[in-house]
Structure formats: structure tokens, C-alpha cells
Amino acid sequence: MTGTRKLSVTGNWKARTLTTALMSFHLILFLSFGAVCVGGTVNLLAQRHPINSALSLIAVMAALAGEYLLLGAEFVAAVQLIVYAGAVMVLFVFVIMLLNAGEEEETKGSRVAILIGVPGTLISSVLMAWVVLRHSGTEAVAIGALPGHPVDIAQLLFHDFLLPFEITSVLILIAIMGAVVLASKPGSAAGKVE
């Protein structure tokens, strides 16, 4: 996933001569990452053991990081890897390991979910896909169309969106404390944060 960035960064190569070749190259990369995404997603649903689902999700996320790179969002790609794949999913795997979650049981707890929810989901998906395909046109997204340079992102994040940013930091703090309190055994010393 790192090889593609080389082209837009290295000054030695005359980008002008590359464009046509890049078109197909770009599409190929998109399709391969997309294939990983789709495959991972389907596997997530198909697998009955949560650890397999978790690994599929990690694959999806890594592939999505590749898609972000294609879209020129390098920083988002890196954060996707670090935060999602590297931290959030580790947490999932950790919990699966901790609780020693076994295979899923095939209980029939909800007819509504199958009889109403699944058709509803299908209907809305088809509708949305139809709208996207039919009406949103096929404007191309060029490679490196958006220089998602960390400096620009920092400017937005720490200047224009400073207040939301600070609020999310408070949110994170609250979430940490909530997690500590919730996960601690009732009455144990960990409940009262040492």
C-alpha cells in the first residue's frame, strides 16, 4: 500500500507522462483494495467465531486505509491504521480473548430482525445504490486530488475545528473513566480508581 504514494511524491519522475498509465493502475489498486473490503465484510458476516470476524474486520480496515491513500488522504489512512486497526480492534481481540468467546449459537430470538429488518435493509440498500448509480454521475476522483497534507489537516483540526476537537478530548476522558468503572468488578478496588 505504500508503493503507490511514491509516484506523486518523488520529484524525479515526470508525472505528465505517467497519467495514462496511472489511470488503469489506480483503478486496479482501487479494485484490489475493494475486493479485500468486500471479501472481508462477507467473511465477517459468514464466520461464526468472533475472532474470525474480528480479523476480517481488521482486513477491511487495512484495505480501507489503502482506499484512503488512493483518495489522497494519507493522514486519514495512517490514523485509520493506528487508531482503528491498531487500537480499537486490538481491544476487540483482547476482549474476545479475555472472555474466551466461543462460536455463536444459532438461537432464534428475533423473528422481526429477519422478517422485517433484513428486507428493510435490502430495500434501502437497493434504493441508495440506484440513486448513486443513476443520479450522482460518474465524476472521477483523481489520484492525489486532495493534498491531505498533515499541515492542512492540523490547521483545520486545531484552528477551525478547535472547539469540537476539545470536546472530543473531554469525551475520550469520560469514556476512559466510564470504561474503568464499568469493567471493574463490583466492589473491587479497581472500581474506585486508584
Binding site: G109, S110, V112, A113, I116, G117, G120, L127
Partner: protein
């Protein structure tokens, strides 16, 4: 405009005192409570004196903006204060008399367990009264207006464990509501038609109205509604009934609130609105008639009362009637003059009465008094001065102010004058009757001991004889007596009127021809007063058996008067009972129970039945919820796409 006067401090000082005593007083010593109460009210008085001293250097009217309050569209009302000669007079009366009564209360209330509460209320009253007096617009005035009502309610019901006191407080409050209703509607009309409640703007707008339309409809309506408000507060017919009952409160309260200051708020308000009234002659006439009738009517009731405070209460109503009469005939400055002198002598009368009650251990019935002048000489002297004053014996204060009113009334119509004169005679009579019954003759009361009046037993010291009050009570009496003696002198040569001229306009030059008439009328009224004195002397001093005979001979009429013309009973039958019956039978049992309650119950039952069916959707299974959400979002998306397609 001198911004350094800091007018706002005058009301706020007593408020601070009230807050301190109200919140901390319970745990403080009496000395501390006394210090706080006296220092804050004294500071307000000192400040008022200081303002008065600087008054000539101020540009009048002096206005002080304090803070924005309501700003809604074009309408705005601010916390603003307003000082002109009228409010200055009121300011001095309220703070001065108020301060004296504070001092007096220290002695009178010393043994009461709720000492700090009393002073908290008293200071609170001062705050609201000063707000009322200094208000720069009708809305701030209304705060004070309602606030003094509240303070009055709290203080009438001060001994709230006593049933009669509690219900007297409620009565005062409720009757006042009727008047406040009129006042409020008048304010709404002012807002609607003049877009403001600021005195200056309203009066400017009223003055600007063309003369021919001015008197018509609107101003008359506003004037009469304002009068209704004033009648409630100042105890005029038909809303006077609360004042005699208000005597259930401690005597200093009766002196301060129900004689000297609060009840005169109506007069003050009418005088303040004189611009409106001067252009609403019908309203003025109504005011004059009400005042005259009240003066006469209350005086007649006063004759037969045996409770010393009740006599004074009816006397107050009667005197307030005089003031209304003055306003009604357009003699606002005479009304205010009488207001001021009345504050002195009626405050003195009540305080002296309090001293008497104190002396005889809580007894208020005059038939059980008598011969007290030997026991309590200072009280007797001061009360005697007050009686002479109210009776209108020259050169005491009451003479000047009452005569002024009668003279002005005569200029408008001799009817007012005549009734006023008769009232003056009755006043003189019942006041001297009070004096004779209380201080002359033999002591008819039981030995003063612990069998005092119910909750008044704080006065019962278990000693043998009536005794003079402590100095802390006597000094205010003496000061007020001095003021009653000389207070009228400010009115000589129309000085008072000239002082108020910036407010009410320059008095017309008295025609030389009528000067003789004035002197004649003066003589007549003095003669009438002396006649009343003589009559009282005859009945209650020389030949004490006569009153009973007269009463017997009058029979039914006497009974009617003793029962205050059955006004309370009539009101009960005409207003109160239908109200209670209607509320109980129709509103409660029919409307509330059968319609409102039933609707609520049916709604609840319906909701429960529907929920009973619908709760099956709430299976507790997350996936089912998700299924519903998915189906719902599908519907929403389909709908939105449909709308979007239609819009294309």
C-alpha cells in the same frame, strides 16, 4: 443630573437589613437584631435627609437609571428611580416615621419570641414602600405596590398561630387583589395606548392628547381603574373592609403600615397620576364622591367602636377619605399635606394606643380602661396632643391640612364641604370619646395580670397596676407629638403647595374676595371641632350614663352601626358565598371531577390499553429493535427519494 446621589441605596439599605435579619436573625441575639434593623432603617432615613438637603441643587425631576428590566419590542421598562418634591415628601415621611416606629418596636416587641422575624418584615416593608415611592415608572411602582401588600400580609398575620390574625391577613391580601386587578388593567391600557409606563413618557403623551378627546373614554377608564387600585390599597369604599381587621397585627405595624405609610400609597399614586386625572374629570368626581362618603361613613362607625385600635382604624379610613376628597377636587397638594400630617398624628395615636395596651396588659377594650392618665402621664400627654391635632384645633398640624382640604372642597362644591364638616365634628367627637374613656374617670379594668388577651400575653408581666412604657417607646411618641404640634406650620402661606408646585402646577392666586370666606370657613370648622369636644366631654365625662340611653333610644340603627352597617355580612352574602358555592358545586364537582378528572383518567386508561397491545413490540431483544429501525429507515429513504423524484 447628578449621578452621585445614589438614590437606589435608600430602598436597598432596608432590604439588606431584612435579608440579614431574615436569614441570620434567628440565631442572633436581640441586641444584634436591633442593631441591624435600626442601623439600616436609620441609614435609609439619614440618606433621605441628605438627599433632601441636597435637593435644591438637583435638577428636578431627578431620574436615576439602575438596570434594564424588560425590553420587548418598542416597550421597555427599567429599574429606574424618580425624585421630585412629591416623592421627596413621601420619602421623608416613610423613612422618618418608619425609623421612629422601628425604635418604638424595639420596646414593644422586645419580649416576642419572633423578634428577628418582625424586624425582617418591617425592614422588608420599608424596602418595598421606598421602591413604591421612588419608582420611575408604573411597573417599578407596582413592584413596591405588591411588595407592601405582601409585607402587610406578613405583618397582619404576624401572630399566625392566632386564627383571627391569620384570616385578617388573608382578608387584607384578597381584598387588595381586587384593587390590584384594577391597577393592573390600568397599566395594560397605558402600555397599549402609550407604549410606555415611564411617568415622563406617559404624562407627556397624556398632555399631548388633544383637549376635546382627552377626557373621553380612555383616560376616564384608566383613571377609574387606577382609582379602584387606590381604593384597595387606601381602604376606600367599597374596599375598606380589610383595614379594621388588619388591627390584628402588632400595634407598631398598625401605626406604620395601616396608618402612616402603606395605606396612603393610594393617595400617592393618584397624586402621582394627577396628569391623567386632571384630564379625566369624571374619574376625579368619582374619586371625590368616594372619598367624601368614606370619610363620613367610616367616622360614623368609629363612634360606636369600643376597641381602641378599631376606633383608630376607622378614623384612618375616614382620614384617608379626606385625602381622596382632596385629590378628587383637584387639590393634590392639600391631599399630600394631609397625608404628611396624618402620618404624624395617626402614627402617634397608634403608638400611644400601643403604649396604652402595653400598660394595661394587652387589653384593647376601652370599656375596661379609664383613669389611666395618672398611671401613664407621658402617654396621656402625647395622645392628647394627637387628639387635639386630629380634631383640628389650631394651630396644630391637623388643623392646617384638614382646613386646606375643606377650603379646596368648598371651592368645588359646598356639598363636599358640608359632609366634610360633619365628618370633622364626628371625628372630634369620637376621638375625645376615646380620650375620655381611656384616660379619665375611674379605672374599670381588672387588675392587670396574666389573664391578658390570648397571644398578647407577652404584655402581661403579672404586675399589679398599669405602668408607663419604657423610654424607647416614649421617645418616638414625643418626637411625633412635636411633629404633630409644628408639622402644620409648613403649610402656612401655601408654602407646602409652592414646594409641590413643580409637580402639581402653580396654585391659582387666591382671590382677595374669597379670603374672607376662607377665614369664615376656618372659624366654622374650629367651632365644629370644639363642639365635638364639648359633646364628648358631656357624654363621657360629665354624664357617663347618657350614651347608653341614646343608644337604647336609637335601637335598630345603633345596632346597625355597631355591626359596621353589616357590610362584611353583605359582602359575605353577595360575593363570598356565591363564589364558594359556585366553586364547590359547579367548578369542583361538575367541571373538575366529571370533565377534567374524567378526561385525564380516560386518557390514562386509553394509553394503558394501547400500551398493553404495543408493548409486545418491546421484546427486549436488541436485534428486533434493529429490525424495526432498518424497516423504518427504509421507509424514510423511500419517502425521501420519492419526494426528490417528484421535485425533479
Amino acid at each position: 443630573m447628578n449621578a452621585d446621589v445614589n438614590l437606589w441605596l435608600i430602598p436597598v439599605l432596608p432590604l439588606a437589613g431584612a435579608a440579614i435579619n431574615g436569614f441570620l436573625g434567628k440565631k442572633s441575639s436581640r441586641q444584634a437584631v436591633t442593631t441591624v434593623a435600626l442601623s439600616f432603617s436609620g441609614a435609609a432615613f439619614a440618606m433621605a435627609l441628605w438627599v433632601a438637603a441636597r435637593f435644591s441643587s438637583l435638577s428636578v425631576p431627578y431620574q436615576e437609571f439602575f438596570a434594564h428590566w424588560i425590553r420587548s419590542g418598542g416597550f421597555h421598562a427599567d429599574f429606574a428611580f424618580y425624585l421630585d418634591p412629591l416623592s421627596l415628601v413621601m420619602l421623608l415621611v416613610v423613612t422618618g416615621v418608619g425609623f421612629l416606629i422601628h425604635i418604638y418596636s424595639v420596646g414593644y416587641m422586645w419580649d416576642d419570641p419572633s423578634y428577628s422575624r418582625f424586624f425582617a418584615y418591617l425592614n422588608l416593608f420599608m424596602f418595598f414602600m421606598l421602591t413604591l415611592v421612588l419608582a420611575g415608572n408604573y411597573l417599578v411602582m407596582f413592584i413596591g405596590w405588591e411588595g407592601v401588600g405582601l409585607a402587610s400580609y406578613l405583618l397582619i398575620g404576624f401572630w399566625f398561630t392566632k386564627d383571627s390574625a391569620a384570616s385578617a391577613g388573608k382578608k387584607a391580601f384578597i381584598v387588595n387583589r381586587v384593587g390590584d386587578f384594577g391597577f393592573l388593567i390600568a397599566l395594560f391600557l397605558l402600555i397599549k395606548h402609550f407604549g410606555s409606563l415611564n411617568f415622563e413618557q406617559v404624562f407627556g403623551a397624556v398632555t399631548g392628547l388633544p383637549a376635546e378627546t382627552a377626557g373621553a373614554g380612555l383616560l376616564t377608564t384608566i383613571g377609574i381603574l387606577l382609582l379602584v387600585g387606590a381604593c384597595g390599597k387606601s381602604a376606600q369604599i367599597p374596599l375598606y373592609i380589610w383595614l379594621p381587621d388588619a388591627m390584628e397585627g402588632p400595634t407598631p405595624v398598625s401605626a406604620l403600615i395601616h396608618a402612616a405609610t402603606m395605606v396612603t400609597a393610594g393617595v400617592y399614586m393618584v397624586s402621582r397620576s394627577h396628569v391623567i386625572f386632571e384630564r379625566a374629570p369624571i374619574a376625579l368626581t368619582v374619586g371625590a364622591i368616594i372619598g367624601t362618603l368614606t370619610a363620613f361613613f367610616a367616622a360614623t362607625i368609629g363612634i360606636v367602636q369600643t376597641d381602641i385600635k378599631k376606633v383608630l382604624a376607622y378614623s384612618t379610613v375616614s382620614q384617608l377619605g379626606y385625602m381622596f376628597m382632596a385629590c378628587g377636587v383637584g387639590a393634590f397638594s392639600a391631599g399630600i399635606f394631609h397625608l404628611m400630617t396624618h402620618a404624624f398624628f395617626k402614627g402617634l395615636l397608634f403608638l400611644a394606643a400601643g403604649s396604652v395596651i402595653h400598660a394595661v396588659g394587652g387589653e384593647q377594650d376601652m370599656r375596661k380602661m379609664g383613669g389611666l392618665k395618672a398611671f401613664i402621664p407621658w402617654t396621656f400627654i402625647t395622645m392628647g396632643i394627637a387628639t387635639l391635632t386630629i380634631a383640628g384645633i389650631p394651630p396644630l398640624a391637623g388643623f392646617w391640612s384638614k382646613d386646606e382640604i375643606l377650603w379646596k372642597a368648598y371651592q368645588v362644591s359646598w356639598v363636599y364641604w358640608l359632609i366634610g364638616l360633619i365628618t370633622a365634628f364626628i371625628t372630634s367627637f369620637y376621638m375625645f370619646r376615646l380620650l375620655y374613656l381611656t384616660f379619665f374617670g375611674d379605672y374599670r379594668g381588672a387588675q392587670v395580670d396574666a389573664h391578658g388577651h390570648g397571644s398578647h400575653d407577652r404584655d402581661a408581666h403579672g404586675h399589679g397596676e398599669p405602668h408607663e412604657s419604657p423610654m424607647v417607646m416614649l421617645v418616638p411618641l414625643m418626637i411625633l407629638a412635636a411633629l404633630s404640634l409644628v408639622g402644620g406650620l409648613v403649610g402656612i402661606g401655601n408654602r407646602f403647595e409652592h414646594f409641590l408646585a413643580p409637580v402639581f402646577g402653580t396654585p391659582e392666586a387666591v382671590e382677595a374676595a374669597s379670603h374672607g370666606t376662607e377665614m369664615l370657613l376656618m372659624g366654622v370648622s374650629v367651632a365644629v371641632a370644639l363642639l365635638g369636644w364639648w359633646f364628648a366631654h358631656l357624654l363621657y365625662c360629665s354624664r357617663p350614663e347618657l350614651p347608653q340611653k341614646i343608644a337604647d333610644s336609637l335601637g335598630g340603627f345603633y345596632q346597625t352601626v355597631v355591626h359596621k352597617y353589616y357590610v362584611d355580612e353583605i359582602y359575605a352574602a353577595v360575593f363570598v358565598k356565591p363564589l364558594i358555592e359556585g366553586s364547590t358545586r359547579i367548578l369542583w364537582q361538575d367541571v373538575d371531577r366529571k370533565i377534567i378528572d374524567a378526561a385525564v383518567n380516560d386518557a390514562g386508561d386509553g394509553a394503558r390499553h394501547v400500551s398493553d397491545e404495543a408493548r409486545h413490540m418491546q421484546s427486549g431483544n436488541i436485534r428486533s429493535y434493529a429490525g424495526w429501525i432498518a424497516a423504518g429507515s427504509a421507509a424514510v429513504i423511500a419517502f425521501m427519494i420519492g419526494m426528490w423524484m417528484e421535485g425533479r
